[in-house]
């Protein structure tokens, strides 16, 4: 198992309801999982627990066989080197070129200049950005910026790629392009967990879907579709839901 949640509960404070409530889930090596649900359903908490950005209040999170709670703080960087993350807002460094943005992820973990020179162009090719290494982020379209962010997330060859609403800021066509990139990365053996509420994408990809509502898993299907509330009988690919409709 690549990621295992064993009865995980996360309380941010005692009064409010838990962000995650007794969630148990296994994600296999090489799987592609959509994590769907409305804002506030616990998707981001799920991702933050894997990164050890948050600690589970109850239950245990295992990443690549290791109990995350038992990893001492000085070993957390090693855990994170095995995980790539992509966000809705790209989080690129605005004053660095595409090449430098990707190279940054290697520099800060002490990779040699030679390795960086070899790996960065290769990973830029993987995400479909060949020839754009010397552009600055503001000279790129949103889709291209997200590709740079993906390149940065996978350049250190992590076993897991976490994507938190990676298409949230992109139009449908561009989003499909991003999904092709993520799918290609998944084909190469990387486990991908993607939180989203973009129904078109979920329906088009036909991957495993895990739906969270109010911190609980209410659905876990192989080759699932997006079921937006209140339209449980909606056909797959039957038009695009407005984002946020599903609560």
């Amino acid at each position: 198992m690549m990621i295992t949640f064993d009865n995980v509960t996360k309380l941010y404070d005692r009064k409010s309801r838990p962000a995650l409530n007794s969630v148990s889930l296994d994600v296999d090596r090489g799987e592609f999982v959509f994590l769907v649900g409305a804002s506030g359903s616990g998707k981001s908490t799920f991702i933050r627990l894997i990164m050890k950005e948050e600690h589970a209040t109850r239950g245990t999170v295992y990443v690549a066989g290791a109990n995350v709670a038992r990893i001492p703080s000085w070993r957390v960087p090693r855990l994170r080197r095995g995980i790539g993350v992509v966000f809705q807002d790209f989080r690129l460094l605005p004053n660095k070129t595409v090449f430098a943005n990707v190279a940054f992820a290697m520099q800060v973990i002490g990779r040699s200049r030679a390795v960086i020179r070899d790996s960065v162009p290769e990973v830029l090719r993987t995400v479909g950005l060949e020839g754009k290494d010397s552009r600055l982020p503001h000279e790129l379209s949103g889709g291209e910026q997200q590709r740079v962010a993906i390149a940065r997330a996978i350049v250190n060859k992590p076993g897991i790629l976490l994507a938190d609403e990676p298409t949230g800021n992109l139009d449908p066509t561009t989003s499909l392009g991003i999904m092709k990139v993520l799918d290609r990365i998944n084909q190469n053996g990387t486990t991908v967990v993607m939180a989203t509420h973009d129904d078109d994408i979920v329906n088009a990809m036909r991957k495993r879907v895990v739906e969270l509502r109010s911190g609980k898993i209410i659905r876990d299907e192989q080759e699932g579709i997006y079921l937006g509330e209140p339209a449980p009988d909606r056909e797959p690919g039957n038009g695009r839901l407005e984002s946020g409709v599903s609560e």
């Binding site: 090693r78 940054f104 992820a105 520099q107 800060v108 973990i109 002490g110 990779r111 250190n156």
Partner: protein, 300 residues
């Protein structure tokens, strides 16, 4: 690679925060100058005490050939006189110990104390009196010794070394304390300013540090540029402080030494003994305060 990267980060951090960095440099410069000034005053006190000050209280100077004082009218002290004086001193119940300093030793000690004074070259052993250096059971009983020995044949004079310097040392010590108090206040300023600078710096680079955390950079790689930024600024301040102290000592003490040739002064080279101390103090100050700040404001 990692080193080059860290250095690059420090460089961009220093450039981005230039005005804050300059203020850190200036504040550490001023505060360490006061620390150094206190240090110099203490060095000066040590210099003036000379070889005997902390060892004995009373000096019994013996007559020399060219002595002009009334008590030495009969010329230099004879061997019998010297033996008699020593025997009497040793027999005295107020005396704890007696040491004899001949003219050659006197010259050695004189040269040590006045190493930075122009008169050192014009003095020869013959010009300096032999002496008995006496430490008393009760240092307050100086007068007893003075009465008993100052009129003995062969004794030029009896002097209480402490009385001579005590008042001046009181003033110098007061000045040291004043300098240290100002230094203390300034150091608090420096620490707070470094903390604020590091905090701003961490804030302005939160994108970078956020990404560093995500891709698994170690705590050292994330924090080191910030800590070194503060340390570099503080060390520059310390270097400036050393330079300021050195030039003060060089010109000011140089002028004083010409004016008061019979007083022993420290040399401007001795200021350089303080430099490592100031550098370490500055670096430590910046390092500790930036680490504490980062623990609060930079999540790793």
């Amino acid at each position: 690679m990692r080193l080059a990267f860290v250095l690059g980060e420090i460089g961009s951090g220093l450039r981005r925060n230039l005005s804050m960095v300059v203020s850190v440099i200036l504040v550490t410069f001023v505060s360490l100058t006061f620390v150094g000034a206190a240090g110099l005053l203490q060095l000066q006190i040590g210099q003036m005490k000379g070889y005997w000050y902390d060892r004995v209280q009373v000096a019994v100077y013996l007559c020399t050939d060219n002595d002009t004082s009334a008590s030495c009218a009969s010329g230099a002290v004879t061997d019998e006189q010297r033996a008699a004086i020593e025997a009497d001193l040793r027999a005295d119940r107020y005396v704890e110990s007696v040491e004899y300093e001949d003219q050659e030793t006197a010259l050695t000690h004189f040269r040590e104390q006045f190493a930075n004074s122009p008169i050192v070259d014009s003095i020869t052993a013959g010009m300096l009196p032999e002496s008995f250096r006496v430490s008393l059971v009760d240092p307050e009983k100086y007068e007893v010794i003075n009465e008993a020995f100052s009129s003995k044949p062969g004794v030029e004079s009896v002097s209480d070394q402490r009385e001579l310097f005590e008042k001046m040392f009181t003033y110098l010590n007061l000045a040291s304390v004043a300098a240290l108090s100002i230094a203390g206040v300034m150091l608090v300023c420096a620490i707070l300013l470094i903390a604020t600078t590091i905090r701003l710096s961490a804030f302005s680079r939160r994108r970078e540090t956020g990404i560093m955390r995500l891709v698994g950079a170690s705590k050292a790689v994330i924090q080191l540029p910030f800590v070194l930024e503060g340390v570099i600024a503080a060390v520059i301040g310390a270097v400036l402080a050393s330079a300021a102290l050195w030039s003060t000592a060089h010109f000011f003490i140089g002028a004083l030494a010409r004016q008061y040739p019979t007083t022993a002064f420290i040399s401007s080279e001795q200021v350089l003994y303080l430099t490592p101390l100031l550098l370490v103090l500055g670096a430590l100050l910046a390092g500790v305060s930036s680490l504490l700040t980062l623990r609060r404001y930079l999540k790793v």
